[in-house]
């Protein structure tokens, strides 16, 4: 009998998961939550069912899995009439490969009768051949290296390998396998594909284990760590870059396209399995969001592959977030306690029409005390910003018979925290060349600098240099220095996209995020002449808006030295995650009174950390109610922090509903901190919550399969004094705040190195 492909030892895998569950380890809890969803709601979580059937061998689970495969097959013919399959075939190829793999797993445990098995096999092979073999042959070989080609080549190679008795399958395998090594080797040595962190994390990274394991199983040898032609890329570097895209605030870097999002797990789990480096296990054990079951490669089996690859070996806790640099693309500076994080990027942008590889020469991402401070991403459909005159484009190749006109300005320099010259917001490259060069990086000194002159010089021929240096100083603040030099005078703008909301300050700009973290950006050198423009709809997530802050000066040599000073204005008073009483809302129609009654009579005691059905054998339903009492500290303001991604949250204190709509968009990604009314100060209050959960991988109401996640806590004010005095004199930056003084030697950048 065939083995279930990719599973070398099914008994060992079963034992790993059973032991983990019995020992109540994190892996055991994740496995339980997957099994519960697959068994209790197989129609809502079809992507979990084949794995659960494989592990449990339970007839009910096997039947659920077979039905999931049959359901997928039933969609194949209708899919052929959609634009998606016809013009975006790669999105369909990767899931097709995995459903085919799951069919093979079920075949390996004897789940199919021979007639049905043959019929399904032929159907899967035929669909692959006419759609994705065709798709793969559309992608130029060998130079086309991206997530789309990976999906197409992998699906042909895998399905070809699984059904190698078929001549068609053999044909697909031949071409697919031939291209796999160059897809790994065609990646830059940094491991960053240039497609942005969302595609890196959602497609490129999760593809790597599939590619590597297929190559190793079919050709032998180590395909993980060896560098491959044509660019010397290797799988290990990709995995490392995937892990580096995790920020200490729980989000992925908003790098290039899409902006902030929740990280997936499976590539990091695979890295933990392959590398003897506790860094990866540390991310999983102590920093991952286990309620998130994000889409990988256009399917919802991230947790399945995480459980397969995850070694689950106990290790001593280490610091997961440290400074790093990749000379071709960017660097991050992280404080020892991981509370302060800065990333400076200079990855190459796509010439002419920047799409995913955006124009962000030396753009900065700042985060402090768990709160993102800068913005990047994509505008919402309603957003009117970034539609620059010179960035319109019309294409007709992605739809049948229709032209699509759009503006790609949000991929250009004007939509990023960069230097702009003569207000050219549609700034981009027009031809291919090396756009940037790292000048310095020190993980111990926590400093980074890069020169990005070439991408400016293409347009401004008198440009002599554009450079930015970022330093994390004394584990407390950042210094950011910009230098732009020309032969003639120009207007130079230092643009920053910051989170709302602005606080009045005499100099520079100060913001305070919804999480109560302040950032003051103060020019110690250079002009303080500035404009602050709220940009509604940019980005399309988090606050749904940002502040575009433009500092300007005119000259042939323009320099700024910024002090970036972060402060946390709130602190945790008490963790209130435990002992919430909960009740399911089976029909999504309970009133507050009915829900309170149900909780009073049949409430279930549970921590408010993730949906109840992930924690226990409870119904997998959309809506849940929660209630508990807590004592609000007396004096001053206080907030209740709740888990992130509580969908359509409603909130009552002592039966009185609060409007929490301002938090709704942001809380998809960040834990909301809801201000408690002053009248609650010093009182014991009853808090009631009602929220929807990610109860299905394909919910028609738009709910995803992600559940809420995090801890709830009471927060109180933490007094801050801001910057009392700051200056740059005689090569030393001096900062005073809260009665303390910091002195930092700073030598200004020069035009020559």
């Amino acid at each position: 009998m065939q083995k279930p492909f990719y599973i070398d030892d099914i008994e060992a895998l079963r034992k790993k998961l059973t032991d983990a569950e019995r020992n109540e380890t994190l892996m055991g809890r994740v496995w339980s939550s997957v099994r519960r969803r697959a068994r209790n709601a197989p129609h809502q979580f079809p992507w979990f069912t084949p794995f659960v059937a494989l592990i449990t061998n339970d007839p009910r689970d096997i039947e659920n899995a077979k039905n999931a495969v049959r359901g997928y097959l039933a969609t194949l013919d209708p899919q052929t009439f959609g634009m998606g399959l016809q013009f975006h075939f790669w999105c369909f190829a990767f899931p097709h490969a995995r459903w085919t793999l799951y069919f093979q797993w079920l075949a390996a445990i004897g789940a199919w009768d021979p007639k049905e098995e043959q019929q399904i096999r032929e159907e899967l092979i035929t669909f692959q051949y006419v759609n994705f073999f065709m798709g793969m042959r559309t992608k130029p070989e060998p130079e086309c290296v991206d997530n789309q080609t990976m999906s197409l080549c992998f699906s042909n190679a895998l399905i070809g390998h699984l059904f190698s008795k078929s001549a068609i399958a053999q044909r697909m395998k031949e071409d697919g396998m031939r291209r796999l090594p160059s897809l790994i080797g065609g990646m830059p040595t940094s491991g960053y594909s240039g497609e942005g962190s969302a595609y890196m994390d959602g497609v490129v990274g999760p593809s790597i284990p599939f590619l590597v394991e297929l190559l190793e199983r079919t050709t032998g040898g180590d395909w993980f760590s060896k560098s491959l032609p044509p660019h010397g890329g290797n799988a290990e570097s990709v995995c490392r870059m995937i892990a580096r895209e995790w920020m200490p605030n729980g989000l992925l870097l908003p790098w290039d396209h899409y902006g902030y999002s929740i990280p997936t797990h499976s590539c990091v789990a695979y890295a933990a399995r392959r590398m003897n480096d506790p860094f990866y296990s540390e991310l999983l054990e102590r920093h991952a969001n286990w309620s998130a079951a994000e889409n990988i490669g256009w399917g919802y089996d991230d947790l399945v592959w995480t459980l397969i690859w995850w070694p689950g070996i106990a290790h001593q806790s280490i610091s997961a977030f440290t400074s790093w640099s990749e000379p071709e693309i960017g660097a991050a500076l992280v404080s020892d306690d991981a509370q302060l994080y800065a990333m400076q990027m200079w990855d190459e942008s796509e010439p002419l029409y920047p799409g995913r590889a955006q124009v962000n020469p030396n753009a900065l991402v700042l985060s402090a005390y768990g709160s993102p401070l800068t913005m990047d991403g994509v505008p919402s459909q309603d957003c009117t910003a970034f539609k620059f005159d010179d960035t319109w484009r019309e294409v007709g190749y992605m739809d049948l018979g229709e032209k699509r006109k759009f503006n790609f300005g949000s991929g250009c320099g004007g939509a990023h925290s960069v230097i702009l010259v003569d207000q050219w917001e549609g700034m981009r490259a027009f031809s291919k060349y090396q756009q940037a060069e790292q000048l310095e990086f020190s993980a111990t000194e926590k400093t980074v600098a890069a020169d990005v002159t070439p991408i400016y010089r293409e347009k401004f021929d008198d440009m002599r240099c554009v450079r930015r240096r970022t330093r994390l100083c004394q584990e407390r603040f950042w210094l950011i220095e910009d230098l732009a030099c020309f032969d003639r005078e120009h207007q130079v703008t230092a643009r920053f996209f910051l989170r709302p909301r602005q606080i009045e300050t005499a100099q520079g700009i100060t913001i305070e995020t919804a999480e109560g973290v302040r950032l003051t950006l103060l020019p110690l050198l250079g002009s303080d002449s500035k404009t602050v423009t709220p940009i509604q709809g940019y980005p399309d997530r988090l606050d749904g808006e940002s502040l575009q802050v433009d500092f300007t000066q005119r000259g042939a040599e323009c320099r700024w030295l910024w002090l970036a000073w972060p402060e946390a204005t709130r602190k945790i008073h008490e963790d209130v995650s435990e002992h919430w009483q909960t009740a399911p809302d089976l029909q999504n129609n309970l009133s507050f009174e009915q829900a309170s009654q149900q909780i009073a009579t049949a409430g279930i005691d549970i921590p408010l950390t993730m949906p109840p059905y992930l924690q226990r054998d409870l119904p997998v339903v959309r809506r849940w109610w929660f209630q508990r009492t807590m004592t609000v500290p007396a004096g001053g303001a206080s907030w209740l922090r709740l888990p992130k991604d509580m969908l359509n949250l409603r909130f009552w204190i002592n039966g009185e509903e609060l409007d929490i709509s301002p938090h709704q968009l942001r809380m998809k990604l960040l834990e909301p901190e809801i201000a408690l009314p002053q009248k609650c100060s010093g009182k014991t209050i009853e808090v009631t919550l009602c929220c929807d959960t990610g109860y299905s991988q394909y919910a028609l109401d738009g709910n995803s399969s992600n559940g809420f996640y995090g801890k709830s806590a009471l927060l109180v004010e933490q007094p801050v004094s801001g910057i009392e005095q700051a200056e740059y004199r005689n090569g030393v930056v001096t900062v005073r705040s809260s009665g303390k003084q910091w002195n930092v030697t700073h030598t200004l950048m020069e035009e020559s190195r």
């Binding site: 459903w99 006419v130 065709m134 130079e143």
Partner: protein, 190 residues
């Protein structure tokens, strides 16, 4: 060899054999009533690289050009990639099975036949004319335009240069890239 799948398998299995009967039979399957078989036959003939297949491939391309036109049907119910949730396709009134098959097929046989002509490498004026048309025809799927450009590069006839130079400006990357490669290949010889 009764089912569509068996015919497709036949094409893939036998085409590289030096068996003349298999070649003849694959040529015949290039005119099969089912497009999946025609698609498989075209791929197989490209793999065999026998110049005697060129005329049959040209005829196949001309037949495919006659496929009925189609319009986008409406999809209802969440047709996500990889989903196993059922959804409905609502076709315009009067849509025939022949039209549905044409939609399912779209440019697949055309792409396979273009790539086959490229693999074979020797050509005829008729084949060249068709490939030139496809390379620039914006009403065709980009898979077809890209395949035509790639094939023209493999054939490397200097007469194709003006067409290919125009195709380097195609707004779709795969097509433009194949055209650039083809121009680079032909130009030193031109």
């Amino acid at each position: 060899m009764n089912t569509v799948f068996e015919k497709m398998e036949f094409c893939a299995a036998n085409i590289t054999q030096p068996d003349e009967a298999a070649f003849t039979q694959t040529l015949a399957l290039l005119a099969d009533e089912n497009w999946r078989v025609r698609y498989s036959a075209a791929i197989a003939l490209g793999d065999r690289r026998d110049p005697r297949a060129v005329d049959a491939l040209v005829q196949a391309l001309r037949r495919e050009n006659e496929a009925p036109l189609f319009t986008q049907p409406k999809l209802e119910g969440g047709a996500h990639a990889g989903s196993n949730h059922p959804f409905e396709v609502i076709f315009p009134t009067g849509t025939t099975e022949e039209t549905k098959e044409a939609w399912r097929c779209r440019g697949r046989v055309l792409q396979a036949a273009c790539l086959a002509l490229g693999n074979i490498g020797t050509t005829t004026p008729a084949a060249l004319e068709l490939l030139h048309d496809y390379a620039l025809d914006q009403s065709r799927d980009y898979a077809v335009r890209a395949a035509a450009c790639k094939a023209l590069g493999q054939i490397a006839n200097p007469e194709s240069l003006p067409v290919l130079e125009k195709a380097t400006q195609d707004e779709e990357w795969c097509t433009a890239r194949e055209a650039q490669k083809a121009v680079q290949k032909i130009r030193p010889a031109a």
